[in-house]
Symmetry: C2
Amino acid sequence: MLRPYSNMGNLYLGLLHYPVRNRKGEIVTSALTGLDVPDIARSCRTFGICKYYIITPLPSQQQVAQRIYDYWDKEERDHAHRREALQVIKVVATLEASLADVLAIEGIRPLLVGTSAQKRTAPQFTYEQLREKLELENTPAYLLFGTGWGLAEEVLERLDVMLPPIYGPGPYNHLSVRSAVAVILDRLRGH
Amino acid sequence: MLRPYSNMGNLYLGLLHYPVRNRKGEIVTSALTGLDVPDIARSCRTFGICKYYIITPLPSQQQVAQRIYDYWDKEERDHAHRREALQVIKVVATLEASLADVLAIEGIRPLLVGTSAQKRTAPQFTYEQLREKLELENTPAYLLFGTGWGLAEEVLERLDVMLPPIYGPGPYNHLSVRSAVAVILDRLRGH
């Protein structure tokens, strides 16, 4: 089933800091976590993601993202592989802006794919179904990851597809978003 | 092929800070990365790992690990799931000490399994082979992750089995150790 990468639908990834839920279910803007910048960039580069959008409406948080980017780009000159991964990053204010960027690159609207650690109401797809669709069809897909306590309802309502939560052998499934990104990209694009 | 968890071989994980290689191939003790403590603990708890050994011979680094543990245990009281994951952690000075701990728990020596982002000389197993072995046999296994530029030769020589590097569609495979742990545990125990 494996096809040359150039024939597969391109994958994009967004890390959403607004609108997300806090532990009480309220809609908030979450703060950026420093290691989300290089860790998720390295996972994106490894699994062939075209762009990694860091989405936050707060200019101060956008500056934090830029400072972390600059640190890895300028101070870590000996880590060529880490610097290379940073090229995948784009900091944007809104989900809308990132979708417009994907549309500008691809010429068509991508399949909008949600992820969650909980079962939430949205059209379901298994990992195998999405992997096969991406390998057989030349359709771009955009994977959306929520920070805090997960994607807000208004985002869920816009999804074309929702991937199921990741589990191990038991009921506990509280991965960091960095770990969840790595696992999900491996399930969709790993070898 | 899925069996009840209680019939599977137990899994242990070690994060080695010595002996590992630096970028020049020299043997060094690497510094602890703060997020390796909670991130890898959450992956271990999700994928049913019995113990997560943080291995460093330096007392000052062991104290750093303890302080990070204490922070997550005491300051993050509202994050019950994160605190729960910490119970899997044990800070030890040497690989030998962690192996003795596994032996004390299991009564038999575990299968010592190495991981690497590069192809290195050691007996090879695919992920499918190891997953099946762990599901069919009641043998414990101990997964070893190197920090810095990877496990030293003297560690490779002791391995029973080496897992292959993780790849996406291209040749770049520079995941953070946190991401590599999540992907490998998912390949061995994910659902």
